[in-house]
Homo-oligomer: 117 residues x 2
Amino acid sequence: MTSPHSPDHSTGPADDRDPKAELAALRQSIDNIDMALVAMLAERFRCTQEVGKLKARYNMPPADPAREKRQIARLRQLASDARLDPDFAEKFLNFIISEVIRHHEAIARDKNGQSSC
Amino acid sequence: MTSPHSPDHSTGPADDRDPKAELAALRQSIDNIDMALVAMLAERFRCTQEVGKLKARYNMPPADPAREKRQIARLRQLASDARLDPDFAEKFLNFIISEVIRHHEAIARDKNGQSSC
C-alpha cells in the first residue's frame, strides 16, 4: 500500500508538481469551462424558447424527428473530431432536447389554454 | 382551426417575417451553440481525465461530495444570473458528474488491474 499522497508511478511530467496544486489548477479550468457551458446553455434555451413560440404561433408540432436525426449525426461527428465520446454527445443532446420539448409543450399548452378556454 | 402556416396572433415583430426563414435562422444559432458546447465538453473531459489520472496516481477517492456541493451552488447562481433554470443547471451538472465518475472509476480499475493482477 502507498500512502494517499505518495506517487506510485515514477514517470510523467505531473510527478514533478504538488498534486494538490495540480488538482486545484485543473479544477479552476473546469470551473471556467462550466461558466462557459452555463452561458451557452442559457443562450441555447433563449433560441429554443423562440422556436417554441414560433411553433405555437404557426401550429407546428413541438418535436421534429428529422431535424433531431440530423442534429445527432452532426453532433456525433463534431464530438469525434474533438475526441469526445460520440455516444456521450448523443446522450447529452437527447438530455437537452427532452428539456426543450418539455418547454415547447408548456408553451403550446399555455397558448391553447388562452385561446380555447 | 387555422392552417399550419397561418399566424393566429396579430401582434409581435415575428409576424412580419417568414416563419420558415425565422425557424432556419434560430436553428443556425442553435447549431453554432451546439458546436461550442461540444468543444467545451471535450475540453472539460480532457481536464477531468487528468483529474482522474491524478486521483488514481495518489489514491484519492473518485467522488468528492464537498467539491460537488460547492459546484452545484455556484452553478445554480451562474444559471440564475444568466436566466437559465437553476434546477436544470443542477440536473445538467449531475449528468456530467455521473459520466466523470464513471470515467474515474474506469481509470482506477485500469490502474489496479495493472498493479495487482
